[in-house]
């Protein structure tokens, strides 16, 4: 081939590459814009302040359109009815009657992440430490303790620690209790110090005790920890993202079992009897489960069609009976406030 022919062939390939890839991206952008334009606006409900005086649900609204990602509130009496938007946007949100914790991401060429505490009027009261992609957050029942988990992703897939997490407990007063990964972890009486040790998904029991997930060497455990003692003890294997029931007797969680990687089954573990109950939900649950009351649990599920960025919040009985039912459409990260 002469140089001219080779240049022409390269030019053609370059053109095809630019047109092909550019066209693909343009089409995706177009489809996304159309979806947003065609989205039927969600019905918005009554004023926010009176709504929050009755039992309600706080969640991240994933209805397509202008309000995507905004925090919204619905009364417990009509969870699938009109929603009222709060003036903040979060990737993950949790709330009590007096305050909310919000993990947010500002996406760009260099994406930055923030964790903030808001008061009952949605005014920011405090910045919390957060490094990396938002994952889980919880408040203690009295609102005095806050836990945040983020993924601290590495530079490359092949390096150790690429799925490292950072889970920090902070007091509402601003005092940082610390990264619980630095607490002493005991599994079967032995201290675990491996470099791949990871902790995530905290749920608070009282002012000192908490439950969380610990992982090392491909295994996960339910751990019970003490903030004052800075220790954690493994209670049971294959438990991720525990969530304590309002009566404090059971923990709802997701487990791997013999499922392939990236799939989990929702289950409930009785702390006193040690019995484990699989829930009637058979779809893969990747969420920190929330308790609606002592008999029912809530969790988010991504919408079944892969192209959709939306998700829904489902409810199912905590004793493994019955069938899952759709509780809030176009929602994620629910918090029950009574």
């Amino acid at each position: 081939m002469t140089l001219r022919v080779r240049l022409a062939v390269l030019g053609t390939i370059l053109l095809l590459a630019v047109v092909g890839a550019g066209g693909y991206v343009w089409r995706v952008r177009h489809v996304q814009a159309n979806l947003e334009a065609a989205a039927t606006p969600v019905a918005t409900g009554e004023a926010l302040a009176p709504l929050r005086t009755q039992p309600h649900l706080v969640f991240r609204s994933t209805a397509l359109g202008q309000q995507y990602g905004r925090v919204a509130v619905v009364p417990l009496t009509a969870p699938d009815g009109p929603r009222t938007f709060a003036p903040i946007s979060c990737e993950r949100v949790y709330a009590t009657a007096d305050q909310s914790v919000c993990l947010s991401a500002d996406r760009g060429i260099v994406t930055t992440y923030a964790a903030q505490l808001f008061d009952a009027d949605w005014q920011p009261t405090r910045d919390l430490p957060l490094t990396g992609v938002p994952s889980r957050t919880r408040l203690s029942a009295d609102g005095s303790l806050i836990a945040t988990t983020s993924f601290v992703s590495g530079d490359s897939y092949a390096n150790p620690g690429q799925f490292s997490t950072r889970t920090v407990v902070t007091r509402a007063s601003g005092e940082v209790v610390g990264d619980i990964e630095e607490f002493k972890l005991l599994v079967d009486g032995r201290a675990v110090t491996a470099v791949d040790k990871n902790l995530w998904g905290v749920t608070f029991a009282d002012a000192d005790r908490f439950y969380a997930t610990a992982a090392s060497g491909g295994k996960t455990w339910l751990v019970e920890g003490s903030l004052a003692g800075r220790t954690m003890t493994a209670l049971r294997e294959d438990v991720e993202c525990p969530s304590l029931s309002p009566d404090g007797t059971r923990v709802a969680f997701k487990k791997r079992g013999d499922l392939p990687p990236g799939r989990w089954r929702a289950a409930v573990y009785d702390l006193t009897t040690g019995a484990e109950t699989l829930l009637s939900e058979t779809r893969s649950v990747d969420d920190q489960i929330e308790w609606l009351d002592d008999d029912t649990v809530l969790y988010g599920l991504p919408r079944a069609d892969a192209a959709s960025a939306s998700s829904d919040v489902w409810a199912t009985p905590a004793d493994g009976s019955g069938q899952p039912r759709l509780l809030i459409p176009d929602a994620w990260s629910p918090a029950v406030v009574r």
Binding site: M1, R6, V9, L10, I13, L14, A17, G20, A21, Y24, V25, V28, R29, Q32, R107, G108, I109, V110, T111, P129, T131, G132, V133, S135, F151, V152, S153, G154, D155, S156, Y157, A158, N159, P160, G161, Q162, F163, S164, T165, R166, T193, A194, V195, D196, N198, W200, A215, G217, G218, T220, E240, P260, P261, G262, R263, W264, S284, D286, A306, A309
Partner: protein, 414 residues
């Protein structure tokens, strides 16, 4: 083939003022191919953790420790690539196969949804990388004037690293334009890789390294690779590799030390790349002038400084940047300099195999050191482990210098 003893670098008087002499077009073209391929692969690598956690829904368990299997396979493929390039005397087409495999793996990410499928695709990409490295470096050596080998490899590694630094930026810019559309990233990554392969196929000459008709036997290659001239450099490279802590651990140690490094964790790697990028050519030129073995050994001095700085109990911006700079100096002084050194110690027809052997020794030794360092870290924490490795490295460097003594003067005539 005969061994010539030339008194480098003083043999050619032009050596000092050769600023206007240019590296071969083939080297620049191979650099462009690597640049495009690295843009493509780093686009995917930089968003993969996010994709796996956000879309595939993977829990944060470190999978790094499963890496051993791939390392073993990759080392074998690397040797096979080097040998295949030598045997057929057509390193270009072996390199094309390697680059092509990686390019195809991008488009295979589109239908891959499960973790197993994605792992398979990523493994295919890595096998492609293993396959192409040695024949490509053999081509660079073949196309270069022996007196500027260091600079040629420096130019190639500069372009290569520039692509690696550019990839993540392109990926995140795309994600900002089409939020959540990881498929767009895979498609663009594929298109970039295809252009890279096209440049390789269309413009890089197929420099034949083997003597016409004579096929290189395995036995001959084995003799060449385990021969006297390569034995000491391979031993030195293996010894130094054994006391080299993987970047991942260094970044984790920095992140463990202070919040600054943790917040900017994804950018630590870019910092190292920038230092490497700026220094690859100067270090290559230095290696051509004062001797490649000399620069290779001295580069490990920068690594030693890196360990000591990372082990300090203090933290902060300046110290973090100093660690990244030292790491960049280390890469600039070793990554391109090792093949430049080795390629002059083996007969041209076994060059790919020789380079592959050296790189495989380094990869395997580093993998061993990673396992050891991980164990040490869990026993005594990052600071003490780094100090211990610093002590080992300080002992290994003089030994390596002794092993490599006089090597810069022993070369095989091209």
């Amino acid at each position: 083939m005969y061994v010539s003893l030339r008194d480098r670098p003083h043999a050619d008087g032009t050596g000092n003022r050769d600023g206007v002499r240019r590296v071969s077009t083939t080297v620049v073209l191979l650099g462009v191919v690597s640049l495009l391929t690295d843009v493509s692969s780093e686009m995917v690598a930089s968003i993969l953790p996010l994709y796996l956690t956000a879309v595939v829904g993977l829990s944060p368990i470190a999978y790094g420790f499963l890496d051993g299997i791939y390392q073993g396979v990759s080392a074998f493929v690397r040797l096979a690539g080097g040998y295949a390039g030598d045997r057929g005397g057509q390193p270009k087409w072996v390199a094309v196969l390697g680059y092509g495999t990686s390019a195809l793996s991008r488009i295979a990410l589109l239908p891959a949804t499960g973790f197993a499928a994605i792992t398979a695709v990523v493994t295919a990409d890595r096998l492609g990388k293993g396959l192409r490295t040695a024949p490509r470096d053999a081509l660079i050596a073949q196309a270069s004037d022996p007196s500027m080998l260091g600079r040629s490899f420096g130019v190639h590694r500069t372009l290569d690293t520039f692509g690696a630094a550019l990839g993540p930026l392109v990926a995140f810019a795309l994600l900002a334009a089409v939020p959540g559309s990881y498929d767009s990233i895979f498609v663009v990554s594929f298109a970039v890789a295809v252009v890279g392969v096209a440049v390789l196929v269309l413009f890089v000459p197929n420099l034949k390294t083997a003597a016409q008709g004579a096929r290189l036997g395995l036995r001959r290659v084995a003799a060449e690779v385990s021969g006297r001239r390569l034995r000491r450099p391979l031993l030195a490279a293996g010894l130094l590799g054994l006391v080299t802590v993987g970047d991942g651990f260094l970044y984790l140690a920095l992140q463990d030390r202070d919040d600054f490094a943790a917040t900017w964790f994804p950018l630590l790697y870019v910092g190292t790349s920038l230092a490497y990028l700026g220094l690859a050519v100067p270090m290559g030129r230095l290696a051509d002038r004062v001797g490649r073995a000399c620069v290779l050994v001295a580069g490990h001095g920068a690594l030693l400084a890196c360990y000591l700085l990372a082990a300090l109990p203090a933290g902060g911006l300046t110290l973090t940047l100093a660690v990244l700079l030292c790491l960049g100096v280390y890469y600039a002084a070793t990554d391109g300099v090792l093949p430049a050194l080795v390629s002059r110690l083996v007969a041209p027809e076994a060059r790919g195999s020789g380079i592959a052997a050296a790189q495989t020794v380094v990869v395997l030794a580093r993998f061993g050191s990673s396992l050891l360092f991980g164990l040490l870290w869990s026993l005594q924490g990052p600071g003490a482990s780094l100090l211990l490795f610093a002590g080992l490295l300080a002992t290994a460097v003089p030994v390596a210098a002794w092993l490599l003594r006089g090597i810069d003067r022993t070369e095989v005539a091209a």
